[in-house]
């Protein structure tokens, strides 16, 4: 029996992430006195900014019908490279020269590392027709190993106040990571909704075969998507490193799962072609509010993992039900 008109059901399906977020905010506000305060609000936004950077890239990749399990490892390597070149530079003994990196140079170096590894992911996936899951799992291991080789297994610390400002600074009353996250959201909303690249992306993810037959350069689009994903992971790596004032060899462990969770909770279909950056922003906020609220309520970290897992399962189940209803 159908109680709701189809239009209302579609509207409800599109707003489900927002509704879930509102319910959680109301519930947490009733359960904790400190939840609904300006300080805690900024705290949540600051906390989600790293996941937001990763998740924007992951949204593009999942929209194209792929997946990237290497973003956490790329985050660690990009952060370590930026920290390493900023702290120690690069010695060229045969030229009796030390290349000392400025702050801008270190940031560029970190981002270039992310872009290069992302490009490699895309190249391997398109050239050798490897499943993205396998290719990026390989990159996960490569990037983790390279991070250990680069850092020697030790944190790189003492990066200076200027670098730390990226992670801990405040501009016009807003924390820098929030500015960076917001800027990236704006750029990628425009990229996905208002550009030819965005339309191609949805076309490739929606039906790759049809996209090929219409003459789209599917492989190029995929390479671009993975390259951007790597670059955004690098930005996340810079934020983490700047915030901790150190590059940790094990930074970003498990972050790929958090970003996939945010994308899925935000309504992006794991089979590609359907979803949005704004949905991912909501997904990140839901995870952020959940983490923050459970922490404020003194819920054991073990239970927090269980609850997060259940929320992800519920999101995927709802997504599947919606897809089925749409097909019916």
């Amino acid at each position: 029996m159908n109680f709701m008109p189809k239009l209302n059901r579609e509207l409800l399906a599109k707003s489900q992430s927002l509704i879930a977020l509102l319910i959680m905010v109301i519930a947490m506000s009733m359960l904790s006195d400190t939840f609904l305060t300006p300080d805690n609000g900024w705290n949540i936004l600051r906390q989600i900014s790293v996941n937001l950077c990763l998740s924007i890239g992951m949204t593009l990749i999942i929209l194209s019908g792929g997946i990237d399990l290497s973003v956490g490892a790329i985050l660690a390597l990009a952060g370590a490279v930026a920290a390493g070149v900023l702290r120690n530079g690069i010695a060229l003994p045969w030229l009796d020269t030390l290349i000392q990196f400025t702050l801008a140079g270190a940031i560029v170096a970190g981002v270039l590392v992310g872009l290069a590894l992302g490009w490699f992911n895309g190249f391997v996936i398109t050239r050798f027709r490897l499943p993205p899951f396998v290719a990026t799992l390989g990159m996960f291991s490569i990037a983790r190993g390279l991070t250990m080789l680069w850092t020697g297994g030790f944190p790189i610390t003492g990066l200076g106040a200027s670098f730390g400002y990226i992670g801990t600074g405040v501009m016009l009353g807003v924390p820098m990571p929030v500015w960076i996250g917001a800027a990236l959201v704006a750029i990628f909303v425009v990229l996905t909704l208002k550009t030819r690249f965005g339309r191609y992306l949805y076309a490739v993810g929606g039906n790759e075969r049809a996209a090929r037959l219409t003459g789209l350069k599917v492989d190029n689009i995929k390479i671009w998507v993975y390259t951007l994903g790597g670059g955004l992971a690098a930005v996340a790596g810079l934020l983490v490193t700047a915030r901790l004032d150190s590059a940790q060899p094990n930074a970003g462990l498990g972050y790929e799962l958090d970003s996939i969770a945010a994308v899925v909770i935000g309504g992006t279909s794991l089979s590609g072609g359907r979803g949005s950056i704004m949905g991912t922003v909501l997904g990140c906020l839901i995870i952020g509010v959940l983490n923050n609220g459970l922490f404020l309520l003194n819920v054991s970290p073990f239970w927090q993992q269980v609850i997060k897992g259940l929320v992800i399962l519920a999101a995927v189940a709802i997504d599947k039900l919606n897809s089925k209803e749409n097909q019916d």
């Binding site: 530079g89 010695a91 020269t97 030390l98 000392q100 140079g105 610390t157």
Partner: protein, 221 residues
């Protein structure tokens, strides 16, 4: 003009690339990414700026730390406080760093060696029979002296590695300067000593019966 630009080397893509390259060059001029320095000059500069934990620990040991042994808490006082309430004793006399679940104390006292077996020396206290002091000869770990003395503030250092390196060097000094005194064959059971050093105690509900001391000073009385 447009027909001119669309031909040969002055085609529109070419002009765009040249314009982009010029913009990049101007940007890099004002915001350089790297500087090139002669290697030796850079290494000298780094060596000068590098934190010397060995020297710092040596100065600290022979300066403020040895002086502080005279002002350290009497061990009997600590034991009485621990017996009354370990929590209050930790609050009053203990030093703890961050979210640590243990407290460090800097104490002094006198006692008599009652046993010396397998590099473990047990000392009965002169003014208390509620607990004994134990010194284990061998590699020293932990931060009992650094933290217990309360003389070093982590915020004075640019990073935690420097702070930890000091603790390692202090522990090394204990092994090199203090343990040989205790390892002396003449340090037999019955020898009366005065001692001072650090003790680290985990949070507990009951007072400990033995206190593991990391000594800074040990001298025969």
């Amino acid at each position: 003009m447009s027909s001119l630009l669309s031909q040969g080397p002055l085609s529109i893509p070419f002009v765009r690339w040249v314009a982009a390259a010029l913009c990049l060059a101007v940007l890099l001029y004002f915001v350089p990414l790297v500087h090139f320095t002669p290697l030796q000059q850079a290494q000298d500069k780094i060596a000068q700026a590098k934190f010397d934990a060995v020297k710092y620990a040596d100065d600290f040991w022979h300066g403020p730390l040895l002086a502080e042994t005279e002002n350290a808490l009497k061990i009997e006082e600590l034991i009485s406080a621990l017996q009354a309430s370990p929590k209050k004793a930790a609050e009053r006399y203990g030093k703890r760093l961050g979210l640590s679940s243990s407290s460090s104390y800097f104490i002094r006292g006198t006692g008599t060696i009652i046993s010396k077996q397998d590099d473990v020396i047990s000392i009965a206290l002169t003014n208390s029979d509620s607990a004994k002091v134990v010194i284990e000869l061998g590699p020293v770990f932990g931060n009992a002296i650094r933290d217990g003395s309360g003389l070093l503030d982590i915020s004075q250092f640019s990073n935690t590695q420097e702070f930890n390196a000091i603790s390692s060097e202090i522990n090394m000094k204990v092994e090199q300067l203090v343990f040989p005194v205790l390892d002396d064959p003449e340090m037999l059971p019955g020898t009366v000593l005065r001692f001072a050093g650090g003790i680290e105690l985990p949070d507990a509900d009951t007072a400990p019966l033995k206190l593991n001391l990391i000594p800074v000073v040990v001298a025969r009385l």
